[in-house]
Symmetry: none
Subunit: 418 residues, 2 copies
């Protein structure tokens, strides 16, 4: 038994809109434990929609359609369904009354084309639309097959799904087995390196373990199928513990944790504060730290020392060092971190200086060269050097640099020497 | 002749990620004039992917696949393609060398699983990936059928599409009737207000005019179909001029322009510099300004004055003002802007202080209250007050505040009194 999703709309095929309905429905089906293997997008074209219905009704038992329920001539989903299954359309008086009332309430003129929305295949039940004029249907055109239709407007679709479709699917026995997931997040290790470390876990059946990578961060998603969240968590817990143990300090958090939320919590726990001095990232670390509500508890502020004059005047970086080593260097990164820590009187001082590109690189100091300085509560200052790939964009280099800096701070706050 | 898109990835079926690749490719195919009638999503499952390939290769002449090219065991797109068409896989030494070099450059250890990424079906050509390790292929497994594969990572896929796929498709004769678009960008006016002002333009046939809105920015996309870009531009130009005229100062730029790139160009043209003092946006203005390559020409630096002590010690905001009016107030915003301008010796000083939420709001100063200070080259300081909707997220309030600040600076640089 499985479900599939068909989104109908030429505007999706033209790339005019992002298909967020598929993602919403995919997540909802997962939560209900309904297996779901295919998603299709097709235009407002009856012939092609019928071809898709032939394929889908052959391989799935629940077909969920969105789009094509509106009043205009290119909205053809309902009549194409009736035609495909060889069933006539009937005017539904309850729907007609509902549409008429909604138009009156909104002080709008009902047009003849709105009457079309009251036509549904004979034998189908109405899937009410509380917030719009176009209702959907729940229909069993033949034994073992369920069709559900929704308008393409996401807000209307969501409400109809929650109010009618979910209770209906639960009444059929779904939602007894749920899929519950726990995501582990890693920084400082590549996807393939982590995947090799935890390779045996990819063969587990319940829970399953799958890797993902995005913008330098690697994730492992541990998903269990069970009758309840508590039971799913019981299946997940030992696997999660083993994965964290194997990954070591590259693991930084779970689910909605971010590097900045984790660093923030560690600073709060330690009753410590931080300030930041940024060059190439131009406010990126500060911006990420302050993205966390309540960050004023530990983040006092920072200096964007984009021009060298700001490094000397505000951060106390010696002009002789800048001249000898250049702005992108270990000594300058260290003085920036120590300087901002003193200036703002914080426990920690974190600095970045580097070459984000695309210009500004040299043979000796190529684009992607980044130094991170970390002044610690005891006054000592460390420095970390990175050479990010030259082929990466300015955006990517800045983002990775911000995350590397936060990650270095995290490791020290956790007491790691790595 | 038509193309179709197949996105491979269980993470899409689970609803973990939004399928933005389909939208990108759909728009690109439209621009090239290549008909495209179907999009499919399928999981990392060879049996089901083969079923989809059977359907797709029967109805389309170009099949574009994204996802499943990574190094982990669940990345199966390439080998499933080879298996489906009954062709052996071969190690491509150029690809192996390229992957080896990229790992070396990043100082990362290459693992045996990365070798897998150098295996391609015999007879397929490489579709190079300049920014990642996984290359794609361009392959004619049989006469009249073209297969192209891309990694699922959007940034890598976009670059590969633009650098190799587009020239290839053009060499096959596509893109002769091209769709050329010019996007006008607006800040400071809502979508419906702008739409009403330019309503008659929405009925044009060639070029067409369509509105979009995203994160407070409104865009009008003017698209013409013509045999060449020059001819399309001729159709577009008079419409663009009229739209800009009607919109007035709310129009800030076109196509890839951003508020920060426009402000940067205006500062460069005027040979002026800027510094920034930020509280609630925590580095967001600085980060956006320095996202532009070459921004060191006009952006000297800034102060993140998150804690009030930083406002007094670095920016010279009087403690008495903070006590009397509070940190989120017109007098404090003005002293912050004047203070950072003096401190860094720049032509302009831009400041923000506000309540980003979700906590910290009061009856008198609700979440979303933001003051923007602008110290001008003549030493005078202006202040602008915003009350952003209380129902907006912290992220949204911070983003809108950064854009409002840049937009105020833009209007002054353009000499507008609005």
């Amino acid at each position: 038994m499985s479900a599939e999703i068909i989104c109908v709309g030429t505007e999706i095929l033209l790339g005019d809109i992002l298909n967020s309905n598929s993602q919403f429905l995919a997540r909802e089906l997962a939560d209900l434990g309904i297996p779901h293997y295919y998603q299709t997008v097709v235009g407002d074209n009856p012939t092609r929609l019928k071809q898709i219905l032939a394929i889908a009704s052959d391989r799935s038992e629940i077909i969920i359609l969105t789009g094509g329920l509106g009043p205009t001539p290119d909205d053809l989903t309902t009549e194409t369904l009736a035609d495909f299954f060889g069933v006539p359309m009937e005017e539904n008086l309850d729907v007609l009354e509902d549409i008429t009332r909604k138009f009156a309430e909104r002080g709008r003129q009902m047009t003849p084309s709105n009457h079309k929305q009251a036509l549904i295949p004979k034998g189908a039940a109405i899937l009410p639309n509380p917030s719009g004029t176009a209702p959907g249907i729940i229909w069993h055109p033949r034994a073992g097959l369920t069709i559900m239709t929704f308008p393409g407007v996401p807000s209307e679709m969501h409400l109809m799904w929650e109010e009618t479709a979910v209770p209906y699917l639960k009444s059929l026995g779904w939602g007894k087995q749920i899929i519950y997931s726990h995501t582990l997040r890693f920084w400082g290790i590549g996807e393939s390196a982590l995947a090799e470390k935890v390779a045996p876990f990819f063969h587990l059946a319940n829970p399953t373990v799958a890797p993902y990578a995005s913008k330098g961060e690697v994730r492992l998603r541990v998903s269990a199928r069970a009758p309840s969240q508590a039971e799913a968590q019981q299946l997940i817990q030992p696997v999660v513990e083993q994965l964290i143990q194997i990954a070591g300090t590259d693991y930084f958090g779970a689910n909605t944790d971010t590097l900045s939320s984790v660093v923030g919590q560690l600073l709060k726990d330690a009753n410590q504060t931080i300030s930041v001095a940024e060059s190439c990232t131009g406010g990126g670390i500060s911006s990420m730290l302050t993205n966390i509500p309540g960050s004023s508890d530990y983040f006092l502020g920072g200096v964007i020392s984009y021009h060298d004059s700001v490094k000397t005047s505000l951060l106390g970086v010696k002009a002789s060092l800048l001249e000898k080593w250049g702005a992108v260097s270990k000594p300058v990164a260290k003085q920036m971190a120590g300087g901002v820590r003193s200036l703002l009187g914080t426990s920690w001082g974190l600095s970045i200086t580097g070459i984000a590109g695309p210009g500004g690189g040299t043979e000796a100091k190529p684009v992607g060269l980044v130094y991170i300085g970390l002044a610690k509560p005891d006054g000592k200052v460390e420095c970390f050097k990175y050479q990010l790939g030259k082929d990466r964009s300015r955006d990517a280099i800045r983002h990775a640099s911000v995350c590397n800096a936060l990650d270095r701070l995290r490791r020290r706050l956790e007491g790691s020497r790595e």
